[in-house]
Symmetry: D3
Subunit: 293 residues, 6 copies
């Protein structure tokens, strides 16, 4: 009988992902949305390029001495978001993530622009209330109220999240770009803003979060542009992939209850070598092996 | 005294454009909008790349034996459209084009996605009523009512235009992609749809339009992808640049009263050689020299 | 319940393909093999890139007034061919194509290098004996006995096919590169070799094949490099996409019993604009709508 | 004993070129100069990229039924021109070409910018006096006296040549860009200027040149940018590679005494697919097989 | 009334620059010259690409807690340098920089090749005599007397400068490529040459310069090629953008009287992701905010 | 007399290499083979691109205070390996390297895929028996017995080498990707596996190897993808070029008898900026100056 060949073989789904959702512990999903970006669009193609290059990955992590099989990942594909319609897109993401959490599985999202994290946080809040914190790795504050009058913008998700779960529950690392007002607001309200560096402040903060529920959101532009050129708004002075791996491992090895995670802003058209998507694929592998218990 | 160097020298404005609007016959303007596209975004960067490569152009056209100086072009720059906000963007375009027409100057627009033509047509209708026809060169019908529920989409501008000025006043050429329903609608209502070819039907149609007011809109994807890879939705089977030049010259030499024109959908990120922007710059030169009396 | 999103939405399978093979008339499959190429490798990534860009296609063909739904395509994915092992790869292809034909479905293959056509022809021969002819569109003769001593080479498939079903059953079009010996052999044995041109000789030949069983193999390098740069061995002086569309339509409209087809040698790494994969996707759409009854 | 491997194998010299100059009929040489260009520099890397991709060529031409071996080519490498020093570079080229001609061999040059043709013409004039004509295929007139005050510019070689051997001995084809003054001068002095088209006027002109000595200079930008994006100043509306092949074959088959030739302005950095260098390599093959008796 | 839209909106001038020079403290200017480079040309397009990508910058620097508005920048555009004519180009640069300094404004130059720094130093010397030092960040010594006989070469500017103001007034950092003779000369004459490293020697040197007038010249190739591939002559083993930011901030925070600065050698054609131009834009922002009092 | 121009001038041979092998101390040779790679092919073009960009190198190393002339390099070109035939390719490499060693010269190889190191080790073993150790810098273990059933695979060379000369004679550094079984095997048999880091373990190991014969093999993917995107299988978390230079210098300055070396896996098609080939060229320069006595 003719049957479909293993999709992981050719990068249609993330490597080593499961054929059925039933036995899965993790649900990987894409959010192909880039309609509110202010500079270079294209991250709608990020999730699929990450899957495509994932076939170059080993399934074993020598860093964590673990295997992708342990994470039991089901790749649900990309949510079919409507072009240019931000409100409806966000609603669809929120609903889908709620379904994942209700099914008792770990939601692992791939952007798309960073605004996609906002409906995920709403879904998390719906389930866990204020009883969780956000670890946020990014080059940008993302703390605007609006961007040129538009409240649904890729510059706003952390502000919305902070307003929902409280600024003191938000921990940002690696931030090196934003408006003066954003930094001032963070200082005033007790938002945990760690500028420029990731590893040092993260290692200081993690023990203080022991036992807590944590959602982790990583913007690929926390990396230096040399390591991640394929993104909408590059910011020099970023961390290396070695440091990002170290950060992910530190989070994985901390005493945390990680309830979900995402990796966003991979935009393949600006990276002829696919360096950014390949980095994202490996970071996702480490998140799968390290974050999912 | 320190003064700014000639901007045309380094591609900040279109080559040979005038320093002041007063003596201008033509106003060139950019519409950096790509938020409703369904496939590859990026045409927001089109107008500026066209200006940049225009410095490689000769100012004289051996085809038309005319010079850019005759068109007396003022390059007004890009309209500062709000990211992701289609309704407001369209309003700004409409208002600006009305200003140009009221000032007695020829409006020559650069897209951006093709939806930008819709507010221009509204502005034209405001001034001229139904007393003009549209010549439309494109690979796509652009005759949808909506795209996945969204009425403001890059797939709809000609439908909106046809509804406003009447389908029999619309002449499309080179069309080779669309939904069955769009082609059927065109046939039923008397929309002048010319499929696949441009030169032959155009030369047949032009004499029938003698003395009429005409607005010309050119989607760069009417060209074959070999000649214009830098566009959102390539469609093979298109015309060559030689044929597009011939079409522009045929329109220029016909007995028409051309009231405005645009060239849209140049998206530089998909064209490492800048072939598409360079083609657009030269087509615009021929439109300036040929269309503006 | 969490279920996978429509894969056609994000280019994981060819647009508009069916979820199950049962109701399918056509089986689309990829052959990611490039280990015998003599110049630039990389066509192993061709099939997947074609699927990815297929989301930019309309499902309706205004050329054939037909729809992808009529072809009822099931996309079986890529055959998991073993890297660098040509003999085993060819065996796997042959076995899979036999399964498709036995199931009464139309086999539509995507290469990979052109050597993949050889096991397909063997499978066809197994079913139909010598009772079929081959229509071959290509820049290259592919009539070598071996390449530097190696009989399994991308330069040999048509020679092997001609030896199996008889040279007079092979019709090549658009050929513009090869060794003197290949052209001489073709002349001597009555191989139907049409050099440089496609449309004119094809239209002459097609009526003579009325009622016959035909297998169609298209090497994307029959196109001019301007239209298909993303291929291993470009040959200038090729046909345009307009001509290739016309050729496919001529074959589709002829009185033939088409028993299978393939499109090979798309190599994405050499084409930053994805022009070649986009051309291949549309040609495949026309083959699906036109060849499958 | 350790010896060097065949250089033609890996593109260090043009494919099938001879190890020693003694038995050569043709001397191929590169002129890596681009210091006077007004738009995009980089053609200094043209000759070497052409050699590199020549390994993808068949040595046999099915168009001319001849073989590279017949042309007996010795590849002398690139003349070591001094960066930025135009006068000295031109002197070195002139001296080297004189040496080739004195040795009774056919000089076949690769640019570099088009100004390199000027010293070649001087060398030819030194040997043949006014007793030869120039066939010039190009998008640009190249008939300026100077460019912004500089008499040694890539915009001037044909003007200098016309002044030396007489305008009526110069035949340009495919010209589609230049200043009004250049076209007027050509008309006034009897320079044979054929605009836009190549094949038709060339076939008209060739019989009138029967028996004459001819030097052929081809600027790769006579091709349409779709076929040759890798050049400094693209001009749309050009000919296809099929037409350029036809032109070269028409010249080869005419009753002419061809005394030398060049192909210039390949600039690899603007062509990620190497389409332009591959086209140039094949055109050079046809020139070798067709021009050298 | 029709008026030009804000040029900073679309990258025609550096973001946040002033409409008029009168109230400016800083004059930014481009020097589009690359005619003397020995390897890959193209830096003539650097200044404009930097402006274009500057629209992705925030105007606020969280490193310096300052804003672009404080620097009051007027972007004068590119000096219209004559192609290929080095002596005249250098004269024009020198004259323009003198005008800026005489007007009491801070000259901030963008290259172009590094030779452009030589006429700037001459202008500075004209105003300040020997009473200033040069801080030079670069991968290359640039201490040749000539390059293959040519004294006006991109390999010579620091030698010329050292001869003018004295080698002990020149401080180079990050140098990792040059001829043996250059390093030896530096040692012999007391030129302050700091090899391989930037931060450590810079922090040692800066206090010794307290109160001095300083001109700062940064060659983008001081960065590692991973962070700045878009430059003519990459040299591995360079510093990261984090280190370059730290160096700029160290200079900004030192007790110096900075009299001018430049950033050179950005060559966009070799950087498909625009990583280099984006890095340059942000470094320029920090120079503006940090260097201009 | 016409003679060939200096090939080093235009990158046909490695810069500063000798015209004849007689006086050479070092023989540089290319192994253009990539037929067993599992992900992205193309390293067959590595050696030639490295030669091409070597013209941008200074011949003097300020790190080692030595000159390329000291290494007396003869560039033998690329071994003409048969496409797709791994066994025969390996035999040809082995034979050629034996010839070099027998001639008393230092063999310095350029890959091609890493499997090419296996026949070199066999040649070394043939001459030196087990009396040498291997220093291996790489991202990958390369310790598989086979890859999907194929024993000749780019994933196996170090396993084969360890089986031949003993695992305790193999020292790997920078390893960050492999199967669990490979790491376990290494631990069990006493293979010297140093994960993630290069400099620190190398500096610990080098003194323990004092006086020993050493073969050095460097896979360019030991570098971080930010520094070497042009390779088949990028692995993030790698070292910088600064660290790789430091490692090469540490080896060069250690008390070792280096008997040969190679640098493999440069694949130019995935690196539009040529960053990887330029890095490889400079590393090779340091290996020449530092390793050859």
């Amino acid at each position: 009988m003719i049957k479909r060949f293993d999709e992981a073989y050719s990068g249609k789904v993330f490597i080593a992902s499961l054929p059925e959702v039933t036995e899965a512990k993790t649900v990987l999903y894409g959010m192909p949305m880039d309609w509110t970006v202010s500079f270079r669009p294209g991250s709608r193609f990020g999730p699929n390029r990450i899957r495509e290059v994932s076939i170059g990955l080993e399934e074993y992590s020598p860093y964590l001495d673990g295997d992708l099989a342990d994470a039991a990942v089901y790749d649900a594909g990309d949510i079919p978001l409507p072009f240019g319609n931000a409100p409806k897109s966000l609603d669809m993401i929120e609903a889908f993530v709620k379904d994942i959490v209700k099914a008792g599985k770990f939601p692992l999202g791939m952007g798309g622009e960073h605004l996609v994290t906002w409906p995920i946080i709403k879904a998390m809040h719906d389930v866990y209330g204020d009883d969780f914190v956000i670890i946020h790795l990014d080059a940008h504050t993302d703390l605007r109220d609006e961007y040129e009058g538009e409240p649904l913008s890729h510059s706003t998700p952390l502000k919305k999240a902070a307003n929902l779960i409280g600024p003191s529950n938000c921990y940002s690392f690696g931030i090196r770009s934003g408006m003066k007002e954003e930094f001032e607001w963070a200082r005033e309200v007790g938002y945990n803003m760690h500028q420029f560096e990731v590893i040092e402040p993260l290692k200081r903060v993690l023990p203080t979060l022991a036992g807590k529920k944590v959602y982790v959101t990583i913007d690929i532009d926390v990396l230096d542009p040399s390591a991640a050129p394929g993104t909408g708004t590059q910011e020099i002075g970023g961390i290396s992939t070695k440091e990002l791996l170290e950060a992910v491992h530190a989070i994985a090895n901390a005493d945390l209850d990680i309830i979900g995670a995402d990796l966003v802003e991979v935009s393949p058209a600006y990276d002829q070598s696919d360096m950014t998507a390949i980095a994202a694929a490996k970071i996702l592998r480490e998140m799968m092996i390290g974050f999912v218990k």
